[in-house]
């Protein structure tokens, strides 16, 4: 400092130069990291927790896993559900129980683990199916008998029984990602957060917990290359924070909250494109049929008739979403145009009088999110109109997702609950949660119907689209008749990206990182 002062730096000149520096920095707006088009910066709603395809926990992990451990096939980005080969050169269903695959040539694992072979496919698939490994995704391969290795690059997948969702919700997911048998066995059988023997279009090069994950293009990938040299994945749980991050130029792509969509569509940030995709999610008001207050089906039917679904959805999603009529989204077999109950407060009052339930009081449990609260408040007003007092109980996510569990102590006290599930593009993914086996697990309404279960099992092996459509429609009618459900909406998925980026998105708006390209 003394030397600086000797060199002529006075306090006055220091302040002047600091001010000039500040002014200069403000004259040049903050630039995004990805301005050169080589780096793509995207938001994920959760941080990396595990990189093992057999034990993955969230969609953002699916995306990373698919990029670094190539699946046999994956969904095509676009508006219709189709698949394309990634690690497989060809995939063919030989008969109901046999699928033949041949791998692309020249795919290699990093860290000196050699070429990707059909034996690695056998290992990767069978370890998920093996009950001893306790993979939560064992059900995806429940129909698997074995994977037969024919030669270095080809093999056969043998099934025990016909399994229709295999091509929609098993093979095009990380359940078909290929790991190195040798590498995984060397580390004790499970990959945590440090990847071993990667082989995909991208390689995971850096993970800073809670801060970012960086994928770099795999220089040894000999097939269609990834669109960007690097993909930076920033974990941001709150969609509003992510939207601000996009608007400030820090992100190239993010999902948005549904309630922000009208604002963003009305006034999109400069140089950006706002997307609205149909969602596969389903939101409904559930009623616990084993709860003493709601045991009488007339009371549950009264509540169905008391709720104006149109108004609930309009208020909660600011007009961005439309009313849904079941658990199966439009475009899939079993999707319905209507429900078997309509908004009829007089009928609701009559049913309540018939059941001797005038002056009824109920509780409504919800997750503490603004959309749910708004929906709950409209439901509360609707119920008040027919003489039912409704108390709204807000829960944080940790509490909410245990409310109906038979292991807790609240499941019988649970009365009304506003829920949202998401699914894969096969109707069986929606219907499975309401089977009798799921009572007290995820079937919080405790809806217990043997015919429903039979139909669910039929749907898994029925490949005729018309018959499947009938099966799943019938199942939802049974749900209507139980009085346990008021179906509200399938929501929509909102996303926003810079016009310098072409996003790779599944028809339901979920991202496929390896399909993002520069515009």
């Amino acid at each position: 400092m003394t030397q600086l002062l000797k060199a002529g730096l006075t306090r006055r000149s220091f302040i002047a130069s600091t001010g000039a520096f500040g002014a200069a920095s403000m004259a040049f707006p903050h630039m995004a990291i990805s301005q050169d088009g080589k780096i793509l910066t995207v938001r994920s709603y959760s941080d990396l927790q595990i990189l093992d395809p057999a034990f993955r926990l969230s969609l953002p992990e699916d995306d990373i896993i698919r990029a670094i451990y190539p699946p046999l096939i994956e969904p095509v980005s676009g508006d219709t559900w189709k698949w394309k080969t990634v690690a497989a050169a060809s995939m063919e269903q030989l008969d109901d129980l046999t699928i033949a695959f041949t791998l692309k040539e020249g795919m290699g694992f990093t860290d000196g683990y050699g070429e990707v072979t059909s034996d690695d496919v056998k290992f990767s698939i069978e370890r998920i199916a093996d009950p001893a490994n306790e993979s939560p995704y064992a059900g995806d391969w429940a129909a698997l008998k074995e994977v037969e290795v024919k030669d270095k690059l080809s093999g056969l997948i043998h099934l025990k029984n016909k399994f229709v969702p295999l091509w929609t919700t098993t093979l095009p997911t990380p359940a078909s990602c290929i790991l190195s048998r040798k590498a995984v066995e060397e580390i004790g059988g499970k990959i945590e957060t440090t990847p071993v023997a990667q082989s995909g279009q991208y390689l995971l090069s850096e993970w800073v917990p809670k801060q970012r994950t960086i994928l770099k293009r795999n220089p040894d990938w000999k097939h269609e290359p990834g669109g960007f040299e690097e993909i930076h994945i920033i974990p941001i749980e709150d969609p509003a924070t992510a939207e601000r991050g996009f608007e400030s130029g820090d992100l190239d792509y993010t999902w948005t909250s549904v309630s922000s969509l009208p604002r963003l569509k009305e006034n999109p940030p400069a140089g950006s494109v706002v997307l609205e995709k149909p969602s596969l999610a389903y939101v409904w008001l559930g009623m616990n049929q084993d709860n003493e207050t709601l045991k009488d089906v007339r009371i549950r039917r009264a509540i169905q008739h008391a709720i104006d679904r149109e108004v609930v959805v309009d208020a909660a999603y600011f007009g961005a979403a439309s009313v849904g009529n079941g658990i199966i989204a439009p475009g899939l077999p079993g999707s319905r145009d209507s429900v078997t109950y309509d908004y009829d407060p007089d009928k609701a009052r009559a049913l309540l009088a018939d059941a001797g339930a005038e002056g009824l009081s109920v509780t409504l449990d919800i997750l503490n999110q603004s959309e749910r609260l708004t929906a709950a408040q409209v439901i509360q007003a609707n119920l008040a109109d027919v003489g039912i007092t409704c108390e709204i109980k807000q829960n944080d996510s940790g509490t909410f997702w245990s409310l109906g569990s038979k292991e807790g102590d609240y499941f019988m006290d649970l009365q009304l609950v506003l829920s949202r599930f998401s699914m894969q593009p096969d109707p069986s993914w929606a219907t499975v949660w309401f089977t009798p086996e799921q009572v007290g697990v995820w079937n919080w309404e405790r809806f217990d119907n043997a015919e429903y279960k039979d139909l669910h099992d039929q749907g898994l092996v029925e490949s005729d689209p018309t018959k499947r459509d009938e099966i799943y429609k019938k199942m939802q009618s049974l749900m209507d008749e139980s009085g346990c459900y008021v179906f509200l909406t399938h929501e929509v998925v909102g996303a926003i990206h810079k016009d310098t980026v072409v996003p790779g998105l599944k028809p339901n708006g979920e991202s496929l990182l390896s399909d993002f390209k520069p515009a």
Binding site: H30, D47, E192, V208, T241, S248, D250, G398, W401, W442
Partner: protein, 314 residues
């Protein structure tokens, strides 16, 4: 002094022990099954049970408490539920970000609060004094998350001068400092008001002291009297106030870390509570409690060393 230090240290140990007990009770009372939340919808009952056993949740409550208590005193805070990483590693990975954020907040509060307080004291009763008074109360009254959101909307979204999210490129100090400006402002702005009020009050008291009158009588310049003789004394209570304020800044840091998507202990605890990752919750809260208690212990020991009255009154 040794006697005072031993007593003060014993009190700190008691405070940390009590905090551990309360923390454990709160965690135990929180509804929600950690295994179900951690493993997601597709986990089987057997998998959930295995995780409960791994987390020690199948043990009687008093065994769980003793394991937690004894482990904590030996530096073993357990392992993160899913990754199996030591909790201490996870916490120490995030701690620097929060400490830097608080240091930034203190810098803002000192850099703005002390000059404003001095100016108000010198201009006592003037319009400037009243304006500083109003400004001080205003920034104290506005919650830090409101400041954070407005700062973000103005400087990041509208003007695009500063980044909105993240903590900057690892290893790039300049980038990290730029990413620190808005979050630290959000954390520290409320304390500008406290410090300005405190410095003003102290300065007014000191400016009336006899040694200042003597300095004036000797004809020393006002600038020298204010900054060399008055402020050096008036600033002492401010330092004590900042020590206490670190605790409050820690809670403000949670909001700043969420709004600006910054890594840090606050966000770590928030995420861990939502996912019922109890080892991380207890570990992170315990580490921050120990740091807070240690800072206060150090402050008390310094004051005790400087002022014999404090030692004798304890």
């Amino acid at each position: 002094m040794l006697n005072y230090a031993i007593k003060r240290l014993g009190l700190s140990v008691a405070i940390v022990s009590l905090a551990m007990f309360l923390l454990f009770c709160m965690i135990y009372l929180v509804p929600g099954d950690p295994a179900s939340v951690a493993l997601g919808p597709r986990a089987t009952d057997a998998m959930k049970e295995a995780l409960r056993v791994k987390m020690g949740l199948d043990q009687p409550i008093w065994v769980q408490f003793m394991n937690f208590f004894m482990g904590a005193w030996t530096g073993d805070l357990g392992e993160e539920v899913l990754s199996g990483r030591p909790v201490l590693d996870v916490v120490f990975e995030q701690l620097p970000y929060t400490l830097v954020l608080i240091a930034g907040g203190i810098s803002w509060s000192v850099a703005l609060g002390i000059p404003l307080g001095c100016w108000a004291a010198i201009k006592r009763g003037s319009l400037a004094d009243r304006m500083v008074g109003i400004l001080s109360v205003a920034v104290i009254a506005v919650p830090s998350f409101v400041i954070a959101i407005y700062a973000l909307l103005i400087f990041s979204v509208t003007l695009r001068w500063l980044p909105a999210i993240g903590a900057g490129e690892p290893g790039d100090v300049g980038d990290q400092l730029i990413h620190l400006i808005l979050p630290s402002l959000a954390v520290g702005l409320g304390w500008v008001g406290y410090i300005a009020r405190m410095v003003r009050a102290s300065m007014l008291e000191v400016l009336e002291a006899s040694h200042i009158r003597t300095a004036r009588a000797f004809g020393l310049p006002d600038r020298t009297i204010t900054y060399r003789y008055a402020l050096t004394i008036a600033i002492l209570p401010t330092i004590t106030l900042l020590g206490v304020g670190i605790g409050q800044m820690l809670s403000s840091a949670v909001f700043a870390e969420i709004v600006f998507a910054r890594p840090g202990v606050g966000k770590l605890v928030y995420d861990a509570i939502l996912t019922r990752n109890f080892p991380v919750v207890t570990g992170a809260v315990l580490v921050t409690t120990v740091i807070f208690v240690l800072l206060n212990l150090i402050a008390d020991l310094i004051v005790g060393a400087l002022d014999p009255r404090v030692r004798s009154s304890f």
